[in-house]
């Protein structure tokens, strides 16, 4: 379940970011602070975008910052971050990015059900409408729980 990988400490609303790199660093900071990933993992996310382009921007206004598990994923986790002012990642189709879902997965297959929930959430416009209306981290976690129960 996605809810198992998410907790309030990984949620941040209305973050101010100056550019895409700053957005990734700020979005992933709680994952580093909570021992979910290493600093090297964050560096590898940024390196990937520099080398290969904004392929982590997977749908309109949404980025899924993640890197290879072996670059420093310590515990599986997902965060939810909204930006105060959306930033450009250089994605022709999906810029600007307002929502980031930083992801740490220890291996390929064990978190399939969490990723299944996440992809359903990202397919649901009502999720984003309600996310925009959330006032704090607890409301976001409650929203994900409620959505998962309805799937």
């Amino acid at each position: 379940m996605l809810s198992d990988l998410l907790d309030e400490s990984l949620v941040q609303l209305n973050v101010e970011a100056s550019d895409w790199e700053d957005a990734i660093r700020k979005a992933t900071a709680p994952l580093v602070a909570n021992g979910k990933v290493t600093e090297g993992y964050v560096d590898d996310i940024i390196k990937g975008v520099h080398e290969l382009g904004p392929y982590i921007v997977i749908t309109e206004h949404v980025a899924l910052p993640h890197a290879r598990p072996e670059s420093g994923a310590l515990e599986s986790a997902v965060g939810i971050v909204t930006l105060k002012n959306p930033v450009e990642f250089g994605s022709e189709d999906n810029d600007p990015v307002k929502y980031l879902f930083p992801l740490s997965a220890k291996d390929n297959d064990s978190h399939l059900s969490a990723l299944q929930s996440l992809v359903e959430l990202l397919s649901d416009p009502d999720f984003f409408t309600k996310l925009d209306a959330c006032k704090d981290a607890k409301e976001v976690v409650d929203l994900v729980h409620a959505k998962e129960r309805g799937m």
């Binding site: 904004p54 997977i58 999906n94 291996d107 992809v119």
Partner: protein, 103 residues
């Protein structure tokens, strides 16, 4: 046709976006009963891949198209847009009509 085409769904990390893209592709393949089987992996999985098709997010496709080991590549712009995935898979199948799967 009894035999199915094999598609590798991949991203740089081999988890996360590639897994989510595979989930979406599998939904379309099942709904439309397409003769395609998917597996997922990272960019290194291309080494040794003996299938017919590679599916990635579009920003990776340009790089992959230049790789001689990649038989054929589809790039997806919007991971959650089943219509885009549906159109591109059908177009690929039309283009390869009559061709035998490589394995």
């Amino acid at each position: 046709m009894d035999r199915k085409y094999h598609a590798l769904v991949c991203c740089r990390a081999g988890m996360g976006s590639s897994m989510m893209l595979k989930i979406k592709c599998d939904q379309v393949i099942k709904e439309d009963n397409l003769p395609i089987e998917t597996e997922h992996g990272n960019l290194d999985s291309i080494i040794g891949f003996r299938g017919d098709l590679v599916i990635t997010m579009i920003d990776l496709t340009e790089e992959l198209s230049q790789d001689p080991r990649v038989p054929s590549a589809i790039g997806i712009k919007n991971l959650v847009d089943k219509n885009e995935i549906r159109e591109k898979l059908h177009a690929w199948l039309d283009e390869h009509k009559g061709e035998e799967p490589r394995r």
